[in-house]
Symmetry: C2
Subunit: 268 residues, 2 copies
């Protein structure tokens, strides 16, 4: 099923969550960073009911990477925080069979199963608005690219059927703003919070920042430090490593735009 061509909006930040979701439902396929500014975005992972406990336990044991914001009721495709339809209202999805990605459609109505439980996981795009408001640059937004994401050599704590590596997102931050970036993002523990690692990509097992595992590369300029945050693609890396029979996730960077304001997830 090829998506219809939908033009990106002139001012994505100004869209309401409902209007952003309508564009994605109509077929607009773009990374969502910068869309509906001030509203929380979420990672999606949907799994068969008989794997739901193992996954929720995996999330509980790896809270920095997998902060659970909401969970669907059986048979439902929307949640308290996401008024849209989880099968159509994200810009792109990944369908996994036995841990292998088999398709990246813009709509998963055909693939969705009644026994799926959908988990919405916090996303670091949420704290990009306060970073920008404080004058901390966010390179991938400046360049209109997807954020670069990397599998690391750091294992998650396993739970039942699920194990896999921590996945991180990376933002290059000027050396004199790194402390600000830590301070600001620490206030959002529900959406990955403070960085897990600052500088030295090699210590995370990342050999080439120019070749991310997900998303697109961005340049790290002289005087900048690569700063790494736990990433909500971690559940999909666990799906790839653990090979459950079936799963649906968002396409990395192509998030669920929720109806909840970023400020709801801010702590003092």
């Amino acid at each position: 099923m090829s998506a219809p061509s939908v033009a990106p909006p002139a001012d994505p930040a100004a869209l309401s969550p409902r209007d952003a979701r309508a564009l994605f439902r109509a077929g607009l396929r773009v990374p969502t960073s910068g869309y509906a500014a001030g509203y929380t975005q979420a990672n999606l992972i949907a799994l068969p009911r008989d794997l739901a406990f193992d996954f929720l336990l995996f999330a509980q044991r790896n809270p920095k990477a997998c902060p659970v914001l909401d969970v669907t009721e059986p048979g439902e495709t929307s949640t308290e925080i996401f008024g849209g339809d989880l099968r159509t209202d994200l810009p792109a999805y990944r369908v996994y069979v036995n841990g292998e990605p088999t398709a990246e459609p813009t709509d998963v109505r055909d693939a969705w199963r009644d026994d799926l439980v959908g988990f919405l996981i916090g996303c670091s795009f949420t704290f990009e608005t306060p970073l920008l408001a404080a004058g901390v640059p966010v390179r991938h937004i400046e360049l209109g690219r997807n954020v670069p994401m990397y599998r690391t050599s750091r294992p998650c704590r396993p739970a039942g059927r699920f194990s896999g590596p921590l996945v991180v997102s990376m933002r290059p931050i000027p050396a004199d703003r790194v402390a600000d970036a830590v301070r600001i993002t620490s206030r959002y523990p529900a959406v990955h919070g403070a960085p897990v690692h600052i500088g030295d990509p090699g210590a995370l097992g990342i050999t080439d920042l120019g070749r991310p595992d997900f998303g697109e590369p961005v340049p790290v300029e002289p005087g900048e430090v690569p700063v790494f945050w736990a990433c909500g693609v971690t559940p999909q890396a666990a799906v790839m490593a653990s090979a459950p029979e079936f799963a649906i996730g968002h396409a990395p960077g192509h998030m669920a735009v929720t109806d909840v304001r970023d400020s709801s997830y801010q702590v003092p």
Copy 2:
């Protein structure tokens, strides 16, 4: 099975977690507040595997009352944070059949089932050590009693099979130390954190502070305010309200003494 008579130790606060557990295993039946000072205590709820997802989701949706610290692996009776045996090393248990408490033994080896998943839930006893260190009085410790706990009129957010009221613990705090009590306990979000309610028991549906639903009453002196914290007995109130076929909890106030220091759950 009647428990052997074991004398309480002269200095319960000075015990190591291992030594405290050995006393409880030998049959000492006492509320654990004040035992093994500086080590985190936990509420226990053990449920059949087929209810485990619903319960973990209930906990995720009610994080102030049900902060999950650890979960047993299938077939295991100890966890990463609790080196003892969950069936013998708490001072007393409650066994529930179809939501009805049927026994309060000091040992549940006979009742334990292989399909049980044990959840350890944060306990407010954890922040009593820092309260005392700051000179904030903790009445039930002064009096050597169990903490008073109350069912409230405030419903938890349901999940699958589980619903029920929020349960709170109460400590009378001098009016000029209430702000300190808030500030100190806010730093321990994994063990219920800041109070959910300060003053006016009636607004929580509590008609008589002198008749707690669990634990023992303590006097509120002139100049003191009753301060209420979310309580890890909430899962047992949900068991009573939701009547799953089988469950085992700790006897309220008779906690699992873990090997983890309170300071591990402190945030800045």
